[in-house]
Amino acid sequence: MDLFSPDEHDLIVELMNLGVGRAAHALSQLVNDEVLLSVPRLEFISVPEAQEAFRKDLPPFLAGVLQDFEGFISGRAALLFPEARSLELVNAMIGEELSADEITELEQETLAELGNILLNHCLATLANQLKQQVKTDIPRAFNSSVSELPCNLNLSANDPNNTLVMLVQIDFSLRHSALRGYLAFVIDLQSADSFLLALREYLAELL
């Protein structure tokens, strides 16, 4: 989708990197250990492309955290992991090594907070840098198969022509483990206009 010019695209990548960097700093302080996060890839895709990409790129079972947001952009954001590795991430964060097959309610909550911190920082950084407002709802942890994912993300509820998906790869690197997850921002296109406007204003100010 060529909604954004290369400059605008680069700016979004930069802002996302700034956002995950701040999230990493917040997480490092919480767990008293170094957490590194980076964004190797970011793309804007349409709903059908997103569905195709999920099928192709994501493992069959996912664990994730959902959070709705509203403001200069509105929609739903999700942090997605291969289900098998989400517990590993939580364990690495809290410095335990529980090998229970099922994630317990406490781990579920920890995972939700992890996603919460990450998504809040990304959205808040985007908003602050672009001098915009955004507010977020509370996070919800969920497990889903890849086929149920569009439903969880509310992809089909809206008119697919009016929805844009920002898919962000995100690499976690902790002292003893490293894993790759995805951030998916399902953005209402009406709000994408204000996003675009904000990006252009920001870039115009730079020049």
């Binding site: 302080q29 919480l30 767990v31 959070q67 509203e70 939580v90 964060m93 809290i94 335990e96 529980l98 090998s99 229970a100 317990t104 309610e105 406490l106 781990e107 909550e109 920890t110 939700a112 907070e113 992890l114 919460n116 809040n120 959205l123 808040a124 407002q133 507010k135 977020t136 709802d137 509370i138 996070p139």
Partner: protein
Amino acid sequence: MLNSSDAIATSLDDILDNIDCTELLHSLDGGVLLLDRQCRIVFCNRWIAQHIGLPEKDLLGRTLAQLFPGMLTPALQSAIEDACLNRMGRLLSYQLHKRLLPLKQRTAKGELGALHQSILLRPLTQSELTLVQVQDITNAVKREQHLRASERVLRLERKVLESIATGDNMEDVLAEICYTIERLIPNSNSAILLLNEDGKSLSVRSAPSLPAQFLHRQRGLSMGPGGTTCIQSIQHRALVVSPNLMEDEAWQPLIEEIKRTNISACWAQPIIAAYEEPLGVLACYPQQPAQPNETDKLLLQRMSNLAAITLERHKRIERIRFLAMHDPLTGLPNRSLLNELLGRNLRRACREGNKFALMFIDLDGFKEINDQHGHDAGDDLLSILSGRMTDQLRGTDTCARIGGDEFVVMLETVQSVQAIESVAQKILTAMSTPVQRGQMQLQVSASIGVAIYPEDGMSADALLTQADDAMYKAKSAGKNCWQSASDLGSEQ
């Protein structure tokens, strides 16, 4: 006319319209707060007032930071501000925030205990307020701790079982058992003491985190009245607890030792094999005076069972190894072990430039004993003679039975032909001395052929052949004598 589902919806609307929301919030089993943009409390439910321990009126209009000065973590503080001011929804989970609000609750025993919680901060859409939900997850935390503890036991148990199954070194498995106990009973050291062959004393076999001198000092703890905790546990076949060693009479002779090793109590669980056979003791030494609780007791029992399996398996393997390498009748090394020892001795003699001797010994008149008195008599005679033969040798020499009445003696090193002669002579005498069996006297003699490394051969095969040939020379020379392979040695 309304259909039934419409009727239900209408009446539900009526009910909801008439519900007193405040009362509903007060009746919730969990904390609810409403904060304004300045983070001030504009509402709190009864649960919050109860768990903070202040009446509602003292809470309203104040921020949580004012209520708990200096007690809120920066993470909680900034999350509250972020939610109230910037409208960012937040979840603060227990695992990432062990300390949230300093709320207390009475435990079943009536004591005031910390309340484990997670907090949700939800900026409301219809107003400027932020809803704070405090969830009491104390029970979930307890369940989880329990789950973790039992899973840790299971995982460690599996690790021990795996290393037993894969035939890991017994020392490693025993050390693993000690480590497991030390991990699950914090601030303790652990040791495994084994019953010595005399069945009357104990020696430390594994104590991976105790100082080395502990291993030596505790060697050979003797049985008897007034024995230490470990000895008593063997005698009683049950867990014996000495909760405070400083005040324990039996431990007074070891008082310096326990001070140095920083141990204060001893819990001794006997390791019992099948048929109630005691093998040793699994000891846990807490660093503070203490009694084991039920979980500790269960752990010690499970670990001592694993230790028993490990030790029994080790014994069985040793037994199988022994049987594969020894003659079952006399207990002497068999041909396989002889070959192994001979090979080893050859390499050493070659390396160090030593001489050594092989004696091929065949009994004279043994077949007649078997024919006249039966195989039982023959077997008894062989057992006795093999014992006599071993008695003539040094500990480092080897006597092997390689056939019915054929033996090979290997003198590990020899300095002179005279020394060989002396041993050969002693063996001849020992063999020809009659054996009393009931009313009967059984008597045989021996023919011995001697080969010397390196003069008579440089390989095991060559030396054995030379010694065998020399033995036949002795037979032809009239038996009950010894012959050397080369003619260097003097003859009887």
